[in-house]
Amino acid sequence: MALDRWLRIVRLRLASLVHGRAADRDLDEELQFHVEQLTEANIARGLTPDAARRAALLAMDGVAQQKDACRDARGIRVLDEIAADLRYGWRICAKDRVTTAVAVVSLALAIGANTAIFSLLNSLVLRSLPVREPQRLVTVSLSGTGNTTTIGNFPYRIWDEIRRRRELFDGALAWSPTRFDLSAGGETQYVEGLWASGSYFEVLGVPTIVGRPFTTDDDVRGGGRDGAVAVISHGFWQRRFGGDPSAIGRTLTLDGVTFKIVGVTPAQFLGPDVGRAADVTVPLGDDPLIRGRETMLDRLYSNYLTIMLRLKPEQSIDAATAALRGEQPQIRQATLPAAAPHEVLERFLSAPFVLAPAATGTSILRRIYARPLTVVMGVVVLVLLIACANIANLLLARAAARRHEMAVRVALGASRLRLARQLLTESLLLSALGAAAGLAVAAACSRLIVRQLSNHNITVVLDLSPDWRVLLFTALATIATTLLFGVAPARNASSVEPIGALKDDAARPGGGDRRQLRLPGALVAAQVALSLVLVVAAGLFVRTFVALATERLGFDREAVLLVNMNVQRAAIPLPQRLAAHERLRGAVRALPGVAAAALSLVTPVSGSGIVPRIAVSGALPQPDSGLAGNAVMNVVTGGFFDTFGTPLVTGRDFTDRDTAAAPLVAIVNQRLARTFLGETSPLGHIVRIELGANPAEAEIVGVVGDTAYRSIRDGIRPTIYVPLSQFPNQPGGLASIMLSVRARRGSPEQLAREIAATIADADPHVTTTMLPLARQVDASLMQERIVAMLAGFFGALALLLAALGLYGVTSYAVTRRRAEIGIRMALGAAPGGVVRLVLTRVALLVALGIAAGAAVSLWASRFVATLLYGLEPRDPATLIGSAVVLASVGALAGWIPARRAARIDPAQVLRDA
């Protein structure tokens, strides 16, 4: 009933809007009919036709007014007026092309930058996974393990126990990201992959658009009924199979094993790890097919799985945690290592399960970029504010030029509200144009930034399609912008005094009061303040990047090529793998261009590492590091330090005599020696290394220089090196290892082809991936580089906008005061005095702005403290430097119009007056 009525009303409004002219004709005809009837009645009463008509019109109380009242009643008058305002605004914009172009372009850049950064933040941090009821998903982790992430926390055996208890929840799933090699041998061809439990698709609620998902029946050790199966992503399906449905049933070679494709996931589902697209998903149970006897399924210490639970509809996260912890004793009992040392057990037993909401999925990328992106978001908001101030000043100047027009309109009876509305409509038109262009800018920018995020190690894929959040953000930004730059001109224009403005000859710019210059001045000072904040931010981030990029690494970044060798597919029995690796190393070292070559498990600043707990005999008392490791470790062959150019300070390198049968030895870095032993020589001390089940004790035989380990930002950590020959039982059974090659001269990349050929000659089943060390180092600074780049770019943009604003306002003031300056000069003022006159005002504005900006910078610096390296957030040099930069830019922007003022010809001015 009520709905009925509302529908009718909506229809009527729409009809009035769409058929505006037809409705007008209707109204004309209706009123006309009444007038005619009335006229006829009057004639019947004996009036002459003329008099009858006049009387009829009189009785109507004015046909035109009634029409207006009717249109008012229909609620279309406001719409009509808005349409008229828009038309008029469009004409004004089209007439004043320069102002319009400047405003629209700066808004497009500013709104575009805001939308771009926001859509990145949105897809990385805010957006929920495109799965069924994502708010019921939680991740599982263990508290107090020193591991702050929820990613890759568990070995298979614990997952096996949790999945047996899935009735505690609405389901459980586990996965581990990986890279599969699609090639048959030789140069690797990687595809982003995912090991996933059989429950993965069902519990997430992700369907397949072609074929079927795999299920728990497929997730069986060694493959289910259909053998090894794979589900591929929509993107991979398109790229590799051109979207052909016959891809189902075809096979893929993953790390040398054949998998049958059974299904394709929908385009919007990229996987549970935000920022990474899982192109090929295979069941966890197929792992032994690839890894054979070293399968992850049997490794007790290899934490590689991320575990997620789906809560029951009414289950709270606390209830679920309690349920899971209730089962924890039994889970521990079932997953106890057979012969674990006491300390390992203790640690393992004391850590309780923790659940955390995971509607937005998990993401390594988020951990790295959420904070920097938030800071950059703040930066672009400031840029938008600066742009607003600029446009407000432009419009104020335009409004001043239109004072005459406004005065005429007021005199003709326009209400002040109506004038303000007119000007606001014009502003809205500008921002809408800017926002529309900004959306295009944003799409390009965010794609560009995402491309920058990818490197040899990670291919970043984010769903950047604008959703309601992004569109709402842009709409709000547009409206806020309009209000910010539109209100001041609107207020100014509507407060125009018709008499004064009309008396003022429009051609004479000397009129008007000084009060009108105050607002632009304040806007410029605010711009200077905001720009200073951005320049300071840019300074801090650029200096952080420079500090990291020039940090002493402790190794030569330019001379080394990193070669990942994988012997998984070569039929080499486990115990002979090390020997095979050594043979390959020998072959490569024999190449004429190679100065040195060494094997290692870890390469510098690769982002990953081995973190054991160590104890040194006769050591100084150490702080308790809890469950976390207190040193970092690398397992290397002799020649490692020569290859990387790391100096041997004292003692010896590993040699061929350090065999498995010989006493265990270790080399430590200077930091470790100083941390644990102070000034005592570490040579001869015994170091106990706890990692996994079997602690080992080795004698320290050498000390090497300090090097960066996992990342440059991590700084120098106590580092221990052990020989590969004595520690060959590594997780993964040495299926893959890093061969680092030092070139005799020139770029190590030149060696790549030769090395690949040598390795292929020795064993064609070995797959290789090459990467210059310099690229790895650059990649490790990617986050800092991007933040420095963005901050630097926006800092420069802010500086430019502030300079333009200052220039505009000053030169406008000079134009307005042309007559005054001319008279001053005629009375004997020197050009220098005129310049000083103009510059005093500029200096005042800049000084005010810098003072305010410095205060804001000092306050805001706390938000970026964690992103900085090598300098304090309140770094005085950066602050002073930025102030100087702004002052010089301000001086330049003020000096140009000041010089123009000094060249005013008094005679000319007096003649004009």
């Binding site: 009718r8 009335l38 109380d61």
Partner: protein, 111 residues
């Protein structure tokens, strides 16, 4: 200026709805009927009728349709909608209540 001064606010709506409740009419006929039923007590200018009608239409109380008059001219006929009928009932009840109350007050004064 077009508001009939001595017509209580909102009563014109009530009168129009009541008149249209009897039969669909065009504007001219409504103005004649208005004068006739109120015995010229209520002074409503011919013009101010139309904004009121359009407002009622916008509210969905009445609907309009073009149709031929008795001497074959085209005119816009207004008729009461179902929502309008309900609204009329409510407003009429309201009117009775208020009118009754005012009558009481006026009588009190006389007594």
């Amino acid at each position: 200026m077009s508001k009939p001064a001595d017509l209580v606010q909102g009563t014109l709506d009530l009168l129009l709805l009541k008149i249209l409740a009897l039969e669909p009419l065009h504007g001219w006929a409504i103005s004649l009927r208005l004068k006739q039923v109120s015995r010229d007590v209520l002074q409503v200018s011919d013009g101010s009728l139309y904004p009121a009608l359009h407002k009622l239409e916008q509210h969905g109380w009445i609907s309009a349709e073009w149709g031929p008059t008795e001497n074959n001219r085209r005119a816009k006929y207004y008729s009461l909608t179902r929502a309008g009928r309900k609204h009329l009932e409510r407003e009429a009840a309201n009117w009775h209540r208020i009118a009754g109350a005012i009558t009481q007050v006026v009588k009190l004064k006389e007594a």
